[in-house]
Symmetry: C2
Subunit: 347 residues, 2 copies
């Protein structure tokens, strides 16, 4: 149990305590779980009202909304856990629309028999990441399913952000001629999950890149760049993101494969595992589309946060191939659109 949590909640249960079906009923046990485990971490004036719905101030601007359920296995992995992931995932999705993340809901589906100490660690982790992101968890829900119908913890977070930019930051704004920038190296999250799941050992532990994208995105927005589109590279990785944007906007995309940063450890692991890093999930990386004339300035900003940030390609009018990869010899190949994630339950 982490120190932060222990100091706030001095042992409200024994280390052998587990979640029971009655914790998910509408009675005093559920109330106790709420009062002793969730409220000490997620406390804020809105959550304190204890009503069916939480009332938030008038946002006085257009709002962005995003939802994600998290079913990652295992619950804790090198570089993160399901709680940290559940905050980063939804906060990042709001950022990708150019919104400032403000409020989150958190809904838990717990499996009967889950150790309370595991739940406590995950909730403490969520609270820490939410604080760093400057978001408030304003409403929540807990359900318990019988043993064998869950996998410890599933979490849904739904986020509300306030739009800060006038021009829409979306696939529909992408233009032929746009430069495509990548915020960092690829593949760490997927490889970290797979390594721990399969009990693989590499020379050095590969940690997930799971993180908030708040700082680089806010720096880009502050610089007044004409950002056309942002997209984080989660399920399906860079490959799926580029295919979705190309299909939505009806354009083609050229990628310089030598410019796509992948660290040695991830490259090695991918070779052993038979994975293509371009299709592996990330939880702290994004691509940026903007006019080529502004690419240098944007890259300078991105590199303040991650040195490996890179300009990886450009957009051109629709051709027969939606996404092509060019290598150092000038040979091009088609980047396929995979039918599904190479690794199930990555997030």
């Amino acid at each position: 149990m982490d120190a932060d949590f222990a100091s706030q909640c001095p042992a409200p249960w024994a280390s052998s305590d587990t979640v029971t079906l009655a914790h998910g009923g509408g009675g005093s046990l559920g109330q106790r779980l709420l009062d002793r485990l969730f409220r000490p971490h997620f406390s804020n004036p809105v959550l304190a009202t204890a009503h069916d719905a939480s009332v938030l101030p008038n946002p006085a601007a257009a709002i962005a909304v995003s939802t994600d359920s998290f079913v990652v296995r295992p619950l804790e992995f090198p570089g993160g856990d399901i709680g940290h992931l559940a905050i980063c995932g939804t906060v990042n999705d709001l950022l990708m629309a150019g919104a400032r993340p403000r409020w989150l809901s958190a809904a838990f589906i717990l499996e009967e028999g889950l150790p309370m100490t595991t739940l406590a660690r995950v909730v403490a982790s969520m609270a820490r990441t939410a604080r760093r992101a400057g978001v408030e968890i304003v409403t929540g829900d807990t359900k318990v399913v019988d043993r064998g119908h869950g996998d410890g913890i599933y979490i849904n977070t739904t986020g509300i952000g306030v739009l800060t930019s006038q021009a829409p930051i979306a696939p529909s704004s992408v233009q032929p001629g746009d430069a495509i920038l990548l915020s960092g190296d690829l593949g760490r999250h997927g490889v970290a999950i797979l390594s721990v799941r399969e009990g693989l050992k590499f020379e050095s532990t590969i940690e997930s890149d799971c993180d908030l994208l708040l700082e680089p995105v806010e720096a880009l927005l502050r610089a007044g760049l004409d950002i056309h589109c942002l997209r984080d590279l989660t399920r399906g990785g860079l490959g799926a993101a580029l295919h979705e944007i190309a299909a939505t906007r009806q354009v083609s995309i050229d990628i310089d494969s030598e410019a796509v940063p992948v660290c040695e450890a991830v490259r090695g692991a991918c070779e052993v595992l038979g994975l293509d890093p371009l299709h592996v999930a990330n939880e702290g990386r994004f691509v940026l589309f903007l006019p080529a004339t502004q690419a240098g300035e944007a890259l300078r900003i991105l590199r303040q946060f991650r040195a490996e940030a890179s300009r990886i390609g450009s957009v051109r009018p629709l051709a027969t191939v939606p996404v092509s990869l060019r290598n150092a010899y000038g040979t091009t190949r088609v980047l396929p659109y995979l039918s599904g994630e190479q690794l199930p339950r990555i997030c």
Copy 2:
């Protein structure tokens, strides 16, 4: 498959098709599920933008937010299904805060092997209820978990509503002297679920009361009544709702047990099953707290929607017993606060 669905989506899959893990990956199979199953039902201009987050207009007022995950077993039951329930539950929670429900997110955790036709029926049911409620499903998510780690379909809905009343409608507004009104008879949802789960047969099928509370709540608000609090009677039933409000507001509540309507079929089933209808979950009933002088007018309005609506009690200053029940002979007993729902996975 219902007619509405069949007409919109002429057989996009064979009747033997099931959900696979790849449908939850970020690839073309997931995209196909979205395009062929979800979009035809949930289509609206916001959802069509296909981005990480959906952008909504400036609400220009305070907003209410509510989240619930639904894990009801079985997925389909007399009087409803998990899709209908997932819309009603969140829409009703927003109404209980005096908000006009506007936008919903919908996130699915599907179990590998789920028949596509089951998913299609549930999604069609959600779409129908959302249309009736006047809410738009603006963003969504689909995850697939491996067989044995789910139970067909779990759904999270998170709703945003726009506040319409100035005075807060919340437990904190309840006053000693307030009258307590109940919008209809109790216990149908819990008994309907339990009957089908346990294969029990009663003389007549008891249907769930699962329904939108939009019409009675809007009629009450339109009448300009000084509504202090609204609370729907889901997990834990009337008992849990009264206990939570009494504890939040630090008041005591007196209930006239003869005034609490329970239909003959539910009363009989509860006797056989050893349940107290006051603690059984409902999905289409609520209590209303308001000044006693306005109770007659409020009751008249409630009875336009359900003849069994009744004035069931009143609020008094805090005493030793939080919630008491008085019977026809004038004897009072303590209404206990149960530790958990009598029936797990009721919603």
